[in-house]
Symmetry: C2
Subunit: 303 residues, 2 copies
DNA sequence: AATTCGCATAACATCATGTTATAAGGCCCA
DNA sequence: TGGGCCTTATAACATGATGTTATGCGAATT
């Protein structure tokens, strides 16, 4: 007696085709191959399985009891194979996969959702994790490779992290109807009498901003220290103070009780798109990063 | 771009082997094939799946994110294939399968359990359904092919049912200590003064018995009409009446307050082992029928 | 620079799986 | 009974899948 070899997928397909169609000839047509090919697939399978595959009844082939015992498993195998093949096709077409994104809290609520929605529109199999947190944590996640892609700012670099820096335009925002609305662009000296809402004083962004004011020989009157540009915008919509924020955030509030004008001299908000350098990114991740970067194009500070 | 072909089992095995072992060389050893063979299996799979399968890290190959997405499905497929192959081997060795048995109620409790227990001892994968019912119902189940094997009696035959008739010896049973114990064998005339417990009067068995009494010019004094030999035995164990029953049943009660002697002239209890004639029996079923039949050998009425 | 290790490629053998041609067996109908 | 007809099995062969050994290439180690 030959030791039983594990059956081949093709044989199982033939078996199921015969069960469905009730005859070898019909099964062959169903499979799109010749009748003798099907016949031999079954003969070979019958040699592997050492029992009768079919009984002849009313001129139809009906599966033997042994085959009926195996049938559920066989169905599942074939279904899974089809699923694997489908998934791989979707992955190839960048329509399936999972992307883990760590970002600044502002992006989680503000710009990112629109990009994600657009990205998912024709990629039904893709899933995402979006984790908002502080820059230090984002950096840590990149280093430990727990996330595929990070959006952060004030990034100093790290050998395990691949960075793409993006300079986003910043604008001066103020409550709608404020006198500043009469200016084309706003310089530090225009803000000499204003109380400023700004990020934490130990942030890179604040230090840049403060230097601009110093260059203009104007004192920066601090009103509120916030962590997020969106928080500043919310406050200004309520009629409190003025701020210099990323244009990304400003546009979102443009019709919610806030106006903005270019800030001069041009000052960037320096975003960094980061990812683990040692971990090969999946293609779908690269594609997302690309789409995300290009979504920022309208807001880039040229030069 | 080539249309994606469905991957082959062998390729998936190679993929999992590399994931397990972290290198192609080790995977090849694991699979028991040469390194180049493994290498090409992966290369081919990589062509089918149009993405990177592995990243090199710390001198190990770790699966790419895309592969990790597919990994659970792949595992399940391979596991199922193994299961199919195992089951088929068990079936081949007649160690798995399901047998549906319909039998007289007496057999369900009396002789059959021992045979089943013995049969299952070295066939761990086999499962059974045992359904006790009246002969008419058993016949119906055979005709409708709802059961694989039936044990019945008083069977007149049916074109859709394959029968094997078995004549089991009958014995006269009586309470332990009864005067009849002094006889070697018991004839109807020995029972002239006894009250008989017997099957229903419309049964074949009763009619045979009655004829024996008539031949001996003895009247059969009916005491209780039962459906089952075991019921008769139970009553006799309580000291009531005498009966003529299958020796199969008598032996079970031999040490429970009952004695028995051969009945003369020899009278068979005509059992029929039946199965659906149009339905090809599974090998395991045939094997069981054979084992069951031979378990009856010690009780056969020769001639 | 030389060695070693791991992987990929080449050339080839064998098995798997398809083809077409044809024979064998069961069923229906005169 | 014998002739068509349908279904399945077998034969002979082409091609693809999967194994072999021999060998080359590049990165890590010495």
């Amino acid at each position: 007696m030959s030791q039983p070899r594990t059956p081949r997928i093709r044989q199982l397909e033939a078996l199921m085709a015969v069960i469905r169609n009730g005859s070898v000839t019909a099964a062959a047509a169903d499979l799109g191959i010749s009748q003798p090919a099907t016949s031999r697939l079954l003969a070979d399978l019958g040699k592997d399985f050492d029992f009768q595959l079919f009984d002849k009844r009313d001129n139809r082939l009906v599966p033997s009891q042994e085959v009926r015992m195996l049938e559920p498993d066989i169905r599942r195998v074939l279904e899974l194979m089809r699923h694997i093949s489908d998934s791989s096709a979707n992955i190839t077409k960048r329509k399936a996969g999972h992307i883990r994104i760590a970002c600044l809290p502002g992006f989680a609520t503000n710009h990112l959702p629109a990009v994600v929605a657009d990205f998912l529109k024709d990629r039904p199999g893709v899933t995402l994790t979006i984790e908002p947190d502080r820059p230090e944590r984002i950096l840590e996640w990149m280093i430990t490779e727990q996330y595929d892609f990070g959006i952060t700012d004030g990034f100093f670099g790290h050998p395990a992290v691949d960075r793409t820096d993006i300079k986003v335009r910043t604008v001066c925002v103020f409550p709608a109807g404020h006198d500043l609305g009469r200016l084309e662009k706003i310089r530090p000296r225009d803000l000499a009498q204003e109380r400023i809402i700004h990020p934490r004083k130990d942030s890179t962004f604040f230090q840049q901003l403060d230097r601009r004011f110093q260059n203009d020989k104007v004192e920066l009157h601090s009103l509120i220290e916030v962590r997020q540009f969106t928080a500043a915008c919310e406050l200004i919509c309520k009629g409190i103070g003025v701020s210099i924020v990323s244009e990304l955030d400003a546009v979102k509030y443009a019709d919610q009780g806030l106006e903005y004008r270019p800030f001069h001299p041009p000052m960037p908000h320096e975003l960094s798109l980061v990812r683990p350098i040692h971990k090969a990114p999946s293609l779908i991740t690269l594609e997302f990063i690309e789409e995300f970067a290009s979504s920022l194009a309208p807001f880039l500070l040229r030069g």
